[in-house]
């Protein structure tokens, strides 16, 4: 099922300059992820896997090396273009859900939609997505602190999907959930992958990594 490469890293290095000396978080990482793949990035704490995910999500720029997303070199893109890439091509799911506390569940999902389309959703897409992840209308009016962890992560998944991104990046998506809810979320992600989305998931839980087609191991900033 996987097709052409959607993400390509060439010798990507990320160095954090600290007073005590430079920390090399990523050391000449090269790899290719194909369109429609389900990849798990594994490694112990501090191995550089979140740094890697931030690179893939264009939240951060490499110190050196090139990152191509859909054949576009991100090095040549300015902040505005990178932001717009995050908005249109990439969906982000975080360990801590990261919903906006001042907005209701519905508005949280609507937020990226409004950023992209500059007008309210009239097609009912936001409501449909919330229904798909099991959040009903009444629940959608609640603010994030009023929802359980599982519900928040479902809202976060709906938010990640609202602009129909090609790539879904997940940073320990089940890390703050109980095992049953975690399993439900993983099944939801598997289903999304089956429908053709590229999913990259960062985890140190082998049970989660089991869902992936390929496992990339990171240790000391290197892909092994």
């Amino acid at each position: 099922m996987p097709g052409d490469s959607i993400i390509e890293l060439c010798e990507v290095t990320k160095v954090y300059p600290l007073p005590a000396g430079n920390v090399i978080a990523l050391d000449r990482v090269s790899m290719t992820i194909s369109d429609g793949e389900f990849v798990a990035i594994m490694g112990p704490s501090g191995s550089g896997k979140t740094t890697l995910l931030n690179q893939l999500g264009c939240l951060d720029r490499p110190t050196s090396g090139d990152l191509f997303i859909s054949d576009r070199n991100t090095r040549e893109m300015n902040d505005r273009e990178l932001t717009s890439l995050r908005l249109n091509t990439i969906g982000y799911i975080f360990q801590r859900f990261n919903l906006l506390p001042l907005l209701s569940a519905y508005e949280n999902v609507e937020f990226p939609y409004l950023m992209k389309h500059r007008r309210p959703d009239s097609s009912g897409r936001v409501g449909d997505l919330l229904a798909q992840v099991g959040i009903d209308r009444a629940m959608a009016t609640h603010k994030p602190p009023e929802l359980s962890g599982g519900q928040q992560q479902r809202v976060a998944i709906a938010r990640a999907l609202v602009n129909d991104p090609q790539i879904l990046l997940c940073d320990e998506p089940t890390g703050n959930l109980d095992s049953v809810t975690g399993q439900q979320i993983m099944e939801m992600l598997t289903e999304l992958n089956r429908k053709g989305r590229t999913i990259i998931i960062v985890t140190h839980d082998p049970g989660v990594a089991r869902y992936a087609q390929r496992i990339i191991k990171v240790r000391d900033g290197r892909v092994t």
Partner: protein, 401 residues
Amino acid sequence: MKDIILQISLRSIRIHFLRSVLAALGIVIGVVAISSMGMMGANMTLSVTEELSKMANIVVITAASGSGGGPGGGPGGFGGASDKKISEEEFRDIQKIAEKYGLVYVVYRESDTIKVGDVKGRSTIYGLDEDVMRQIFTLSDGVFPKSTSSVLVGPTLAERYDLKIGSRIKIGDEDEGITNTVKVVGILEERGMSNDINSDMAIIGSEKLFTGIYGNEGEYDQVNLILNDINDSQKARADILDKMNRKETTVNVQDSSRMLESITSSLGTMTTFVMAIAGISLLVAATSIFNVMMMSVTERVREIGIMRSIGAQKSEIRRMFLYESIVLGVVGATIGAVLALAIGWVVVLAMVGSTDYFFLPESLWYIPFAMLVGIAVCVLSGVYPAWRAAGLDPVEALRAE
């Protein structure tokens, strides 16, 4: 159209209600201070202008200090304008030019020592034609003088020396042995400050009475022109200056519009100064808005990180914080404007003594002006925090607790 960024700003203000109210309070105070001071100045100017325009029909002609003295003038030349007189011949010329505009008359004037009973003092003594007196003065008591020993006195002078009809005044310095006693036959009505004759503190007698005491007949201290039409003021002035000063500068002409201009301009300067002091309160308000906005940015670093990571542009983050400061500014300025109407009214009543001009546009426009300044101050105070928020690194921001 639903602006979700504006929604977030409004909700953020709502959950920090007390803090936002306190920040906006600074703007309220600033707007009230600036607009009430501005309105006070405007009302003062309007009331002085009205007062002065009552004498806008008076043109005063005096001898130019520089003329005629020449090299032979000697040390006496330092005496200044008051030493120079207008001659009888010059007066005739002026009369020829100016009589078409209105009444032209001469004024003798001297400042001298006076003594009423045992009380000594100083006063200005005017010598005027009897007919002119009748035309320019109104009496509150008594009659116009008919002899060379009877005088009119101003109301302030009468009050100070307890002068009544029939009271006697000694004019001149007793030590020098030159005194003349005159009798009060009439008391003038109050006339206020004027640039032709300040009669409230003066003794006014006939020309003969004056020249009898001081001599100098036919050498006048000033020539006054009372215009029939106020609009001729500039024209009459130009006409007199043009014809009288053709060869050399012999006369100065002062019309009240110039005096009005200078008084209005000093009042304007004063108003600006007082408003600038009031503006300091806005500076304090700016600090407090700035502080609140910085707090807001610090508290919401993580939120900013989330918004950036899911695709909000820097401009949207900037907008979110600018909205917050604009809302604080608009709310503060609006409340300030309403209060300024009430407080400004009280200030004007207390300082100017009359609120006749309060609702004129010249006075009320200080309210929208102060509102605009207040809102501008808010926006400016929000610029740096908004810029800081937008410039945050998304990865760093997401890591914040």
